[in-house]
């Protein structure tokens, strides 16, 4: 059965249809939430909340074809809510630029992974949400703006800033982030 039919049935109260939709989405939602929150426990809470709200508020969704985008929006909002409620039990790993080690033994892909991870951690959750919605979930920027309820100009500028950091970090010729620095001065 196609997704639209499932959404229509779920909207009519068919929980089995909703379960099929949820099972089909949960891996992607969990991955997106973990990327945004950088914490699997918080991500689990956010996805639980998003799916719960999806079931409860499904009848608010006017266009069944927009179910996936709507679910992403619920998940991102739940992530941002989680971020607002961050507590001491969440250990925020603050990676200082000066602490970034050089990683000569790693493959290029592994090194990129480390750098992207570090840059993602330096962004706030809303910044990560923009990166994740666009690059991980493949949303056009207009949809990212609509999902987050912010102007497209804001999306572009924040994405540009985030990508700039990543490119600087990844580009071997511009090692401002990965190079050791001393008292704020490039070595």
């Amino acid at each position: 059965m196609d997704q639209q039919r499932l959404v229509e049935r779920a909207r009519g109260g068919d929980h089995d249809a909703f379960a099929e939709l949820a099972r089909g989405s949960v891996v992607r939602l969990d991955e997106a939430a973990r990327l945004i929150l950088r914490d699997p426990e918080l991500a689990r809470d956010a996805v639980q909340e998003a799916l719960f709200r999806a079931w409860r508020d499904l009848r608010k969704l006017r266009d069944p074809a927009r179910f996936e985008a709507w679910l992403y929006r619920l998940t991102v909002n739940a992530c941002l809510d989680q971020a607002r409620r961050r507590r001491r039990w969440r250990i925020e790993v603050e990676l200082l630029e000066t602490d970034t080690p050089s990683i000569p033994d790693m493959s290029a892909a592994q090194a990129d992974r480390e750098v992207v991870d570090q840059v993602l951690r330096r962004l706030d959750e809303a910044g990560r949400a923009i990166v994740v919605l666009h690059y991980f979930l493949g949303m056009p920027l207009t949809d990212v703006a609509a999902t987050l309820g912010i102007p497209i100009g804001t999306v572009k500028s924040r994405l540009h800033r985030a990508l700039g950091e990543m490119r600087i970090a990844i580009d071997p010729e511009r090692t401002l982030v990965t190079s050791p620095v001393s008292r704020g001065q490039p070595a």
Binding site: A22, D30, W55, R85, Y135, G149, P151, R167, I170
Partner: protein
Amino acid sequence: MTMQHRRSAELEATLVDLARGPYPEYIDDVLARTARSRQRPAWTFPERWLPMFGIASEQALAPRFPLRAIAIALIVIALLVATVVALIAGAQPRIPAPFGVADNGLIAFERGGDIYTADPATGVQTAILTGSQTDVGPRFSLDGTRILFERKLDYFHSQLYLARSDGTGLTLLTPEPLTLAAGDLGRAWEKYQLSPDGRTVLMATETSGVHTITIAQADGTGVRRLDVGMSASEPSFRPPNGAEILFIGEGDQGLGLFAVNIATETVRQIQLIPNGFGVAGPSWSPDGSHIAYWMWDETANGLTARTHVVWADGTGDRELPSPPGAVWNAHATWSNDGNRIFIARAYTPGYDDVRGAVVPADGSDFGVEVAPASVETNCCAAWMWSPDDTKLLGRTSPITGTPDKLVIIDVATRTVSSVPWTSTSDPTWQRLTP
């Protein structure tokens, strides 16, 4: 492939690699929970329970005494009582009336699961509730002597506590954990509040996915759910005595504003909302004579909310006037004198140009815009008047930023100043006797 596309593809691949994790087994728990929850409320509360209050009354037969002796004795007793009352009243701090203008006291707020108070004049802050627990959403009682807060047990469950305003004398009000349900804005005062007399606490709760109203005794002796026969969200006590509770209801009649009499549990309809419209933020004027709320067209593209004011009996509903170019307004917050309402007023159908405005509650003009768009009174911002009505305290909510900045707006001068503390949930301002 251009360099940019190649990098985008690499970034996407790296994100996929970073995101990889175990299969989210918790989906079974979620589905078990949703299976138990209803999308639309069909209301029964068989598990409703009431606190047991032992009420014993005995009547004593009064023996006959000489009337003169009784009169003299009564006069003496009255004089003694008056003397004692005068002494006690002189020794204790006076407390403000629950409604109306009061003096400004401390601001309480939460940061990182601890609760602090701070003096807005000096900036000095004091941690009043600390420890390993996650305590959020402090709310001062209307007389400023106590503080109500939520202790989060996990994502869905909380317990409510009441303490003295200095954080001592903790009383657990809800031994059974509850799921608290905020309204559209998620503000702390949408979830719980003390009654005007301070004897009960009203809570917006969620039971099996349905919004419900729960009342707890402020001394921790009992909790009961109020049966209003429909989904009920954003409840609030009606001033000045709290005999009624206003709520957004959704039942057989449709969506609307309703009030329930606490003693009789009789529900009355105040205002039905037209089909296709949403409603949020109902709040009483400080004298309990009017209700402000905002409603919007759910079928429209973009935001269309408009604030309305209606008499408590549902008559005389009127929309607050908007200046040319204004598209929507919402987040109505009454001043303590009941003459003005703070609203967020927007000039686009989104959040691009949202300003804070203070408008006359009688709708006689457009009011004054006191906060520029840069203050970011966007979705989910929380605003409240200072007890003396000269200032507005806000937790701004930029969607893309860190939503923990507190600002104070001087209503007369329209100056906006940042407060030197951050808060991860809504703050509260203590009322003191004028």
